[in-house]
């Protein structure tokens, strides 16, 4: 691609339509991290002692660790003492206690984000848990779901109302000592969602959590726990945005999923955190540990992610295929532009017999960004008949960006079949020409081609999300060609 007829131009005026801030009184605790801060968070959430001890142990372990340096990203030095670990926008000014009513500003914010919190306005068949900064603002359709025995609430609420379930499963998939950021999250996690689907229940609605970072200099430490009991099914969606700010914001989340015998979980993410500006200033550092434990026989888990935001993404939604005949899928589209860096992929750990996994990853790089797929497929010694198929394609839109593929395959069983293939290429000029000849502008043609390229993954998303994701792909790449 020569510069003269270059399709590619560094994007300077890219729009991030969710970049506004909400002017709402927010109670923010002092910056810094120590045991007192953790005690304060735990106290504010009126947590039982076992959870405080869980946090403190995690914190003490975290202190002994150093920030990991691997991955194809340039993670800046994070000053963990310059971050506030708790921000609550639901506390009424001067009262110091929570109001009964939700601040209309908050309602407006979520409306603006397209997430109505009034049930009558809800997207058809979707229940929402809306989280701003460290606190869940509202969870819709809780009552309706509870009729079926389904628990859908913020994790703070679950700690109060369903302590046994939380205690049983919290940290059972991602232990606090799993990695540096998992330890940090386990020490300071704020809010997130808790889902429990009882036996033989098909969740009648899509469950969705919407995360929003608003307050300045705060970190968000989302914690989500989904337990799908025997013979049940749930589809869960996660969306996220943040205002445009010059400094980096830290988002270090943990998502744990437990899937029992014959149960199925679909987890979809459309990640659109603020990616930083064209010069690479600001943006969210998205450092996430997501893992599903397919404990039961014939269990199924599928991760679908559309990653367009964040300055740095470091996440590997993983599956431990423990139950015999369990099946796992990972579908990912990661778009990077400007100075974004994404190092994302999955781990498929086959332990049970006749387990199957599929990995479809599509990376699209533009601007000065770096986009890496990193994945591990491990077949344990006893995982007879395990099969994996991985396909990782990268598309390059510009000569200043990079696309990388780092798959790892560790095979310890001779009845396993593992296949990996990857390609990297630029956008097909003949296709562009064909579109041009039919009167389609180059920019539009790129949008079409990229959407076509990502289709296999987008199709896995629930309808409303798929439409969103398609729009997002076009917006993210707007201005990359000209």
């Amino acid at each position: 691609m020569s510069e003269s007829n270059s399709f590619v131009r560094s994007l300077t005026e890219k729009k991030y339509e969710f970049g506004f801030t909400t002017d709402v009184h927010t109670e923010i605790i002092d910056k810094g991290l120590n045991e007192d801060v953790i005690r304060l968070i735990s106290e504010k959430k009126r947590e039982p002692d076992w959870l405080l001890q869980f946090r403190l142990e995690s914190y003490r372990y975290w202190l002994t660790q150093t920030q990991p340096a691997w991955g194809h990203v340039h993670l800046p030095e994070i000053d963990y003492q310059a971050i506030s670990y708790y921000a609550d926008p639901t506390v009424k000014k001067g009262q110091g206690s929570k109001g009964q009513e939700i601040d209309p500003e908050l309602m407006k914010t979520f409306d603006k984000l397209g997430i109505p919190l009034e049930e009558r306005l809800a997207l058809s068949g979707t229940a929402v848990d809306a989280v701003m900064d460290s606190v869940s603002v509202k969870t819709t359709f809780k009552e309706k779901l509870s009729e079926k025995g389904i628990i859908f609430c913020s994790i703070s609420e679950a700690v109060k109302n369903h302590p046994d379930l939380v205690k049983q499963y919290l940290g059972s998939v991602v232990p606090p000592k799993d990695n540096y950021f998992a330890a940090l999250n386990s020490a300071v996690f704020s809010d997130g969602s808790f889902v429990y689907i009882p036996k033989n229940t098909r969740c009648p609605m899509e469950l969705s959590t919407y995360f929003r970072i608003n307050a300045r200099n705060t970190g968000q430490f989302e914690r989500t726990l989904i337990v799908c009991d025997e013979g049940s099914y749930v589809s869960y969606l996660e969306g996220c945005t943040a205002p445009m700010r010059d400094e980096n914001q830290l988002h270090a989340a943990i998502v744990e999923i437990v899937v029992m015998d014959n149960a199925e979980v679909k987890y979809s993410t459309v990640q659109n955190w603020y990616p930083g500006d064209a010069e690479g200033r600001g943006g969210v550092l998205n450092l996430v540990t997501k893992r599903g434990d397919l404990r039961g026989v014939n269990s199924k888990l599928s991760w679908t992610q559309v990653e367009t935001g964040s300055a740095i993404t470091w996440k590997y939604p993983s599956c431990v295929l423990r139950g015999d005949n369990s099946q796992a899928e990972f579908y990912s589209v990661a778009v990077t532009n400007n100075h974004q860096e994404a190092d994302t992929g999955t781990k498929m750990i086959h332990l049970g017999k006749n387990t199957r996994s599929t990995i479809i990853s599509k990376g699209i790089s533009a601007g000065h960004s770096q986009n890496s797929y990193r994945g591990l497929v491990r077949v344990g010694k006893h995982a007879d008949g395990a099969r994996n198929y991985s396909s990782c394609d990268s598309l390059l839109l510009g000569s200043q960006c990079g696309a990388h593929t780092f798959p790892y395959m560790d095979i310890h069983n001779n009845t396993a079949t593992v296949e990996h293939e990857a390609t990297t290429s630029k956008i097909n000029e003949e296709q562009l020409f064909y579109c041009n000849q039919r009167g389609i502008s180059t920019e539009e043609a790129v949008g079409l081609i990229v959407n076509g390229y990502a289709k296999d993954v987008i199709n896995k998303l629930p309808m409303e999300f798929a439409v969103e994701a398609q729009k997002l792909l076009s917006v993210s790449l707007e201005g990359t060609v000209g």
Binding site: C401, P407, M409, N414, T423
Partner: protein
């Protein structure tokens, strides 16, 4: 720093002796290489390029160091470095990665080096053969160094054999450790077919680092064949530095028993219009471990790069392990790069078809393994070697290679 210590002490005691037995060009880099080794030590398995081989343990036993001079029959193109017909200082230890601990240790300890120099526009018809005979009655470390310089327009085939040496019958054999560094410089329009064939014993550990520089319009084929071994870790780095050059890296690895075969390759496309092809195949049986890691890096200006990397593996027993890691790191946009990697089982339908024709299962399996490897052997250009390898690979799968101590066919 436990395993390192004995080498540090060895160097401190023996460096004067080594230097006396060596020559100026090698001594010029020796102390620095030793300092480098001291500062980095042996890599742990956290080091990305050493994930699959435990180097420190391999170097832990107490080995005596061999300082025997090279036995070079006077011939065209082959010299010991002391008799080099050209100034080799601009080449020796220049393309080799000084930060690699094996390369650093080799440069510190190696006392003699072989030079293969093919002058400008010279076509060497017969292959140049280097035989390394490995046999010893006391644990010995051998450090080998080969410098290959292909002048502009030169063309040659080089075969480097690692083979089991002939010792006296009934002699008890000891463990042998080899480090090897090969530096290959191909000037513009040079053509080189380089074969490395390892057919040794379970007592042999081999750590080999090959570095290849290509100017423009060059073509290099490197074939790495591991027929029989103990523990092997081969590294091959290729730097494509002139336009319109190509490189092919092929490998074939057969593991059984408790053998360990780790191939680590890196191809760096630094300029536009180059092509790289890579095909590595493994059959791992018994409790053997196979590892393959291959990275293709395409630099920002290396437009119009074409690269294809394939790694296919057969796991033939329940205790064998296979690790594979094909990597693409791409900074240019106008490229066509692909890699594929498979770990699989034997085709049951083909097996059944053969058994229906009365071929016993064990033989059918060996035929299929043979066919699987055939794809790599087919690509060997030098006909006599290709034919010999067909026979050897077949024998290997029949389990005959282990026994064929006196078989003349293999020589």
């Amino acid at each position: 720093m436990k395993s390192e210590q004995q080498y540090i002490e060895l160097y401190q005691e023996a460096s004067d002796l080594i230097k006396r037995k060596s020559c100026e060009v090698m001594n010029a880099v020796r102390d620095e290489a030793f300092q480098q080794f001291m500062s980095i030590g042996f890599p742990t398995r956290k080091a990305e390029r050493y994930r699959y081989t435990d180097v420190a343990t391999a170097f832990a036993p107490n080995y005596g160091i061999s300082l025997a001079p090279l036995d070079v029959k006077p011939s065209l193109y082959i010299y010991t470095i002391k008799d080099a017909p050209i100034d080799v200082a601009p080449y020796y230890h220049k393309i080799a990665d000084a930060h690699d601990p094996i390369t650093a240790l080799n440069a510190a300890l190696v006392h003699d080096a072989l030079l293969i120099h093919v002058p400008k526009n010279t076509l060497v018809e017969d292959p140049i053969v280097v035989d390394n005979w490995l046999r010893g009655t006391s644990p010995t470390m051998m450090n080998r160094r080969i410098l290959i310089i292909m002048e502009s327009g030169a063309e040659a085939t080089i075969i480097i054999n690692d083979r089991e040496g002939q010792g006296a019958r009934g002699e008890e054999q000891a463990r042998l450790l080899t480090t090897q560094v090969i530096e290959v410089y191909c000037h513009d329009n040079a053509r080189l077919d380089l074969y490395e064939i390892e057919d040794t014993t379970p007592l042999c550990s081999r750590f080999s680092n090959v570095y290849i520089h290509e100017g423009r319009d060059c073509s290099v084929k490197h074939n790495s064949i591991t027929l029989f071994n103990g523990q092997t870790r081969n590294l091959c780095d290729v730097y494509l530095r002139g336009e319109n050059s190509e490189v092919t890296l092929n490998g074939c690895a057969i593991g059984s028993g408790s053998q360990h075969i780790d191939n680590n390759t890196f191809i760096r496309h630094e300029v536009p219009h180059c092509t790289s092809n890579e095909l590595y195949k493994y059959v791992v049986d018994g409790q053997s471990v196979g590892a393959f890691a291959g990275k293709i890096l395409v630099e920002k200006d290396a437009q119009k790069t074409t690269s294809q990397e394939t790694n296919a593996n057969l796991c033939a027993s329940s205790d064998a392990r296979m690790y594979t890691q094909p990597m693409l790191e791409i900074y240019a946009d106008d490229v066509k790069c692909a890699h594929g990697s498979t770990v699989g089982v034997m085709d049951e339908t083909a097996l059944f078809y053969m058994r229906q024709r009365g071929i016993p299962e064990a033989e059918a399996r060996s035929l299929l393994k043979n066919a699987f490897m055939g794809q790599v052997i087919d690509q060997i250009k030098y006909e006599p070697l290709r034919q010999k390898l067909y026979v050897k690979v077949e024998k290997r799968f029949r389990g005959e290679l282990e026994k064929c101590d006196d078989c003349r066919l293999c020589k």
